[in-house]
Amino acid sequence: MKKDEKKKKLLIEAIVIIAVILVFAVVVIVDTVRSSPSVDLTVEQAQTLLDNTFEMVPNSVALTANHVVEESEITVKSVKNGNGKEIIFECTYETVDIQSVYSENKDNLFSSAYDFYRAEKDAGRMVNATKIRQNFDNGFIEVASKGEKVSGEIDIYVYELEEAAAEEDALAMPFEDTILRVYLSDEVINTVFGGLLNVCNDAINTKEFSYNGETLSIMNLTTLKRGISDCFSIRNFSIDKPDSSAYFVSIWNSFCDEFYRNFIKNAQWSYLAKGLLTTIEITLLAALFGILIGFICAIVRCTYEKTGKLMILDQIVRLYLTVIRGTPLMIQLMIIYFVLLLPVGIEKFPAAVLCFSINSGAYVAEIVRGGIMSVDGGQIEAGRSLGLNYILTMYHIVVPQAFKAVLPSLANEFITLLKESSVAFYIGVADLTQGGLKIRSITYSNFMPLIAVAVIYLVMVLILTRLVGVLERRLRKDER
């Protein structure tokens, strides 16, 4: 049972770590791939692009709008450049309430289409859906023009420009092979195309209609049915691409864009990489010296408490612990560097290592002291009774047991140290935090650099926690 739970926990943790790493890998890869052809557009160029696109793709907004949007003019309002381009169009329009017109005239429309279908068939000509649609279109426009007109203005966002040409060509002739993909939000569809979608659905789902007073089933007239419903469908607009996705596409694009701007551009990620290395160096060195200082202080204090020896040293250690644990780390760092070490010309990095060692040592000392005190007094007696002196007894018998007891607390201290080393930037050490802040000062964006720094710290802490777990299990093998 317990083993299974542990395995499960381990698996979940592994998945979380892998997922975080994967997301970053994907972002980096996607962004690198996407970012290669990047052309900045002006508003005028975008307008040209828009006109060209609608010319090249005949059955798009303008044509479809014939059915519902009586008059429309689309102009480019603004262009957002960068990796994920975003063009905002402004669309002024006049539209008719197609749904009510359709409801009133549905039977007439179906009847006239049926008349055409019958007449063609009787004349022995081939009737297909396209022919019916073409004939039906005209009748529809006649009917629709009776509707009430509504005017308005909307913004249409266009995302995604695929540029097939190479970068230099694109600069010279930027729009030759450019495909503009338009995704519309539900709001836009409802406003501009009114009830057209509903009408289309109704036409598709119609089972029967009234013809010269009798009810006719359309079930068997598949060609007719397709011709009619074809006429209502909005061509060249992807209604399968629901527009909630456009929202996510927009977020994703701006995410990639931001990512590129903050990390990929000018290899700015190297600030983070170099900073990370410095942070790891500081933490490892400080942890090493901190544990050394901590153990020495703990042994001094325990020796005094147990034997009454080393009184003066004990007093010194107490003073050290009081001062270090009673003042903020940042102030200690600044005092050690600016007051003590800068005047004698010592660099920032050794100053930071020294400060964090001294700070960590104080906390480790108290942790280890607790561990040593928790070792059964009989252990010391057993060691001493064999003839081992105090130091050998401590070294071989007490400290290893104490170490095992305090390992979780030591690991926590190490993790705290890793995170607290972030204040090193106050004296100008180029650590991970400073790397993030440096990027922030270049790009003026907050989200990406700060989140990236946080995520890197988090991943390191997760990995450390895992490692400590493994070490703890190995040390616990004698307790079974």
């Binding site: 252990q379 057993a382 001493r384 003839g387 071989h396 004698d478 307790e479």
Partner: protein
């Protein structure tokens, strides 16, 4: 060496008027105890709890520092602060009520640590000796086990063998069977008995009257920090002279 007294060669431990006070003399755990332990003696120390018998035994190798009095080990006053007690402790094995095996080491490591560090024995020799001892008490197959994997009786047998690995001249036993389940007492007493038969000098604080009567050649009865009566097992158990001993025996036998 000038203040070392001339004593009989057969006396290993000579205790003179030993006192142990706590709280500035308010509590007198030992109140003037004198005793000679001769080579080959098996001395059983009995008495009610709180009588000072454990304190006395632990004073013999200075785990308790006496307040007054002197202890001579092989003619050397080990209470003298100039004496390196560690060297003398090597010759006095001690077995505890709570075993006190080192939980982070295997049985073999428990037994070879002190010989390797103090007697400077090569690892192979130390391990060979340790294995020999383990075989003797039937634990040859548990050399690589950790103490937590052993039963109480096994732990105590290992603890005895750990002390023996230092080749001591005297063995001190501090209630070695008190923390054991009843069915494990026998196996530990057997080892001690065998040890006694081999001629080991032993001082045993015990509640096992059967063991005291059968194995010890001298029995010491303590109460309130003093030795009330001392003699052969026959005298102590067969013909107790003091009222206090009589009432103690009446309770435990």
């Amino acid at each position: 060496m000038s203040d070392n007294i001339e004593i009989n060669n057969d006396v290993i431990i000579h205790v003179e008027d030993l006192k142990k006070h706590y709280n500035n003399g308010a509590v007198k755990a030992l109140d003037g105890v004198s005793l000679d332990i001769n080579k080959g003696d098996v001395v059983a120390i009995i008495g009610p709890s709180g009588s000072g018998k454990s304190t006395f035994l632990r004073s013999l190798n200075l785990l308790e520092e006496p307040s007054e009095g002197r202890i001579f080990f092989n003619g050397v006053d080990i209470t003298d602060s100039k004496v390196n007690i560690n060297i003398h402790r090597q010759k006095m094995g001690m077995v505890f009520q709570q075993f006190n095996l080192f939980p982070h080491m295997t049985v073999l490591k428990n037994m070879t640590l002190a010989p390797m560090k103090l007697l400077k024995l090569p690892k192979a020799d130390a391990e060979a000796t340790a294995l020999q001892y383990l075989e003797r008490v039937g634990l040859g197959d548990r050399a690589d086990a950790y103490p937590a994997q052993l039963s109480g009786g096994q732990k105590q047998r290992v603890a005895i063998m750990r002390a023996l690995c230092m080749q001591p001249e005297v063995m001190l036993f501090d209630e070695p069977t008190s923390a054991l389940d009843p069915e494990m007492v026998g196996e530990v007493l057997d080892v001690m008995k065998e040890l006694a038969e081999g001629g080991m000098t032993m001082a045993v604080v015990t509640h096992e009257m059967g063991f005291a009567r059968e194995v010890a050649n001298r029995v010491v009865f303590m109460e309130s920090g003093v030795i009330v009566e001392e003699g052969s097992p026959e005298e102590i158990f067969g013909n107790p002279s003091s009222d206090r001993l009589k009432s103690f025996l009446a309770k435990v036998l």
